[in-house]
């Protein structure tokens, strides 16, 4: 028996008000006014598919920073930051996974998330890995005044796959493949190109998805009426209901697509919906997962009696509740690089990254690993040959010590309006950790007035700088408020 042994997710806290966007475009695209409802999730400027994936994995893996049991990692996305650099390798480094972990990128289709999940389930079932981590994440760009700009959202979800302590048993899957191009994004293109919606709906979704559903039902012997939960990303309202009816499924079993509160998170979306469905699934219930994209993947899971024994750190529901309304459309355009803006000369700083230095210090930079003196117990960041202990500077006594899952406290801080920042003023400060150690670091996901000495912060893996000249992104850890607040207002919206 193989199945899901854990789940988690991540939705960035900025929620762009769609009415504001649609109203801005009403003069040129009045047809979009109908979509001007609800809100979509928007990653901060320092987030991308990789950083959101790391957050989702941490949400799934929890507080324990011993991840040595993970021996396979699958990362699915259509917006990987690197075309040639193992993106899942970045995630593996950030999570301090063992170097013996097989890391695989699965890309180039909306159903990359389900395809990665099927691969992981099959691999573990076949004994090729014992504990696989599967994460899907997407942060798609869309042209201003396009329907996609309003439909899309940013987010990620993660599962652990194993043979013990299964929460949801893998019953079976079926995939169909058609070179049906409802949309495409060419190599080196930033945006999708979409064909007529009516054709996509009638010739694509309405025919291809049922083929996959019928395939998985007949393969597994599960009766349509036994399906209790259906998750199916779909941008067309009512289409999933009609497909469900066609296939003899109960339309009531369909889960909400989160269109009103987050938008469609691309290759991550079936995973996001599944991770949310698992929060409320009951033992014995069957879950059908569908994801359309040049064909369709269909998977069936059956919740076990252990389903309630697990909860993610926050889960999709927790992250959805942790929202900051954003009514400044320009901020979204700026964060996604969709507008040329005057950054000032301070932004001309060369952000070339010495890859030798990066590799030499990989666990420090990517994993936020410092040192702990085995003689004195003094904890420090970074690790060094001679200890920082003022009274006993021991030599060569330090073992790696992980800071990423520790909660820190702000000792001192400032909001810096002089330095170049994508989200000025740039907050940064000295973060101290209760067990020991301190790091002067950037503070993200805050607006002026929110930071004060003594505030608790959690560590988040984010983009540090973008080297636009060479197309490289560097990542490091930042501090973010430890408390997930609900309903905060963005300052720029005031």
């Amino acid at each position: 028996m193989v199945g899901l042994t854990g789940y988690g997710g991540y939705v960035p806290n900025l929620r762009l008000n769609r009415k504001v966007v649609a109203s801005t475009h009403a003069w040129i695209a009045p047809n979009l006014m109908g979509k001007g409802k609800g809100e979509r999730s928007v990653g901060n400027w320092d987030e991308d598919a990789v950083t959101m994936a790391v957050e989702a994995c941490r949400d799934c893996l929890g507080d324990d920073d011993d991840r040595s049991h993970i021996d396979a990692l699958y990362f699915a996305s259509t917006t990987m930051p690197f075309a040639d650099r193992l993106n899942s390798g970045i995630i593996a480094s950030a999570l301090t996974l063992e170097t013996g972990t097989q890391a695989v990128d699965v890309a180039n289709t909306q159903r990359a998330g389900t395809s990665a999940l099927i691969e992981a389930l099959n691999k573990v079932e076949a004994g090729g890995a014992s504990h696989a981590l599967v994460v899907a994440s997407d942060m798609r760009k869309a042209r201003a005044a396009s329907a996609q700009e309003l439909d899309f959202g940013d987010g990620a979800a993660c599962f652990t796959v194993g043979k013990d302590n299964i929460l949801a048993e893998f019953v079976g899957s079926h995939s169909v493949t058609h070179d049906f191009v409802d949309h495409f994004r060419g190599d080196h293109e930033e945006f999708d190109y979409n064909w007529e919606e009516r054709w996509v709906r009638d010739e694509g979704l309405a025919k291809i998805v049922p083929e996959a559903i019928q395939g998985v039902l007949s393969k597994t012997g599960v009766a349509p009426g036994d399906i209790n939960h259906i998750v199916m990303p779909c941008l067309f309202p009512r289409v999933p209901q009609s497909i469900a009816k066609t296939c003899g499924l109960n339309p009531e079993a369909l889960h909400d697509t989160l269109a009103a509160v987050a938008g469609d998170t691309g290759a991550a979306h079936s995973s996001v919906l599944l991770a949310k469905a698992l929060e409320t699934a009951k033992a014995g219930e069957k879950i059908l997962v569908l994801h359309f994209g040049q064909g369709c993947d269909a998977l069936i899971f059956s919740a076990t009696d252990k389903i309630n024994s697990f909860s993610p750190r926050h889960g999709i529901s927790g992250w959805l509740a942790h929202r900051r309304e954003e009514t400044n459309y320009m901020k979204y355009l700026t964060f996604r690089g969709l507008i040329e803006w005057e950054k000032g000369m301070r932004a001309e700083k060369d952000n070339k990254t010495a890859l030798t230095t990066l590799y030499r210090n990989n666990d420090m930079i990517m994993g936020l690993v410092g040192g702990r003196c085995t003689e004195t117990g003094v904890i420090q960041f970074p690790r060094s040959r001679i200890s920082i202990n003022p009274n006993n500077p021991t030599v060569d006594t330090q073992e790696p010590y992980k800071f990423a899952e520790k909660v820190g406290k702000i000792l001192s801080w400032s909001a810096d309006a002089l330095t170049f920042s994508m989200a000025p003023p740039n907050h940064f400060g000295m973060v101290t950790f209760e067990e020991g150690g301190r790091i002067m670091m950037d503070i993200t996901d805050v607006v002026p007035g929110e930071v004060e000495s003594g505030m608790d912060v959690r560590m988040v893996f984010r983009i540090k700088d973008v080297d636009e000249q060479r197309g490289f992104k560097r990542y490091f850890w930042k501090a973010a408020p430890a408390e997930l607040s609900a309903g905060a207002q963005s300052q720029a919206a005031e």
Partner: protein, 400 residues
Amino acid sequence: MASGIKDKVAILGMGCSKFGERWDANPEDLMVEAYLEAMQDAGIDATQLDAAWFSTHIDEVGTGKGGTPLSMALRLPNIAVTRVENFCASGSEAFRGAVYAVAAGAADIALAVGIEKLKDTGYGGLPVANPGTLTPQVAPNGSAPGNFAQLASAYRAKHNVSKEDLKRAIAHVSVKSHDNGAKNPKAHLRKPVTEEQVINAPMIAEPLGLFDCCGVSDGAAAAIVTTPEIAKSLGKGDIITVKAMQLALSNGLESQHNSWDGSYFHTARVAAKKAYAEAGISKPREQVSMMEVHDCFSVTELVTMEDLFISPEGGAVKDVMDGFYDSDGQVPCQIDGGLKCFGHPIGASGLRMLYEMYLQLLGRAEERQLPNPSIGMTHNLGGSPSTNVCSVCIIGAHDA
């Protein structure tokens, strides 16, 4: 036990260029300006110089690397020129090199020149630094004001000072310096400001507004040092000698160990203690006549008053508001206008501070002249509160 530097070295002459936005001047012009004044003051010619120390911090603008920019600009007679760099304390480092050379007997007369030409970047504030290959991958994205502003949040938390009270106290620090700078023809900023102006100025890095930050300017300063005996033989009457010269550097304690609370400068306290011991000063609050401290930001000056043991721990806000450091206060601070009004051409600032102490001790400070000062102290800091170098230098009359 080292015998210390006290009274082993005398200042033979000093010079200081006009500081400011010197659109008219190349770095070489500024060096020459300070040098010629110092040479005239010393009453010697270049052939009498045995060695020189040259401080400049930023390679990206200004003179470029090495000692040759100084040697070439001044047409020095092929003597040794050592370029030194130690963040914003570089100027004091040039002085230290020259003083040590004389004290060691390796040179009879040595020259120290500090320079920075900052206003060739095209934007305000200090040039953006590119510090090595590891630091940019992990260090936060903060400017100098952002780094020093951190003192305020930590100081407020430690001493339970309200945001408003601290903001007013640091405003007074700037008001006092502007009052002084207005009387100094070599200062860059020469307009008095009010506390309200300072408090309401645009925010640069919370809680530091525009007037909480020192200016950014071009400038150079120079010192010529020798032994007291040679100074006398050259006909000098009032001999000003070095009483103490200490430098303390962070070793990572502040940035990596939780024993530091972020509200003070660990290095300044170490350097000040050593300097007082070297100079034989036991009650600095009474014995120091005046000082020039590293007021890169108003809050830096405020906490430094405690780090130099002039104000008691937690007492700087009261002393500042009481006018203790004003020009008519007990220990006038930044009597020349400080970095606040001179701006901070990095390699020059330490020497510029000494220049004012030297003028005051000789009674040559004109409108700013204090009544009978005997001991002048400079405090020259470089880096950030959590990682820095701090120089403390004390000079005074040879017989003081």
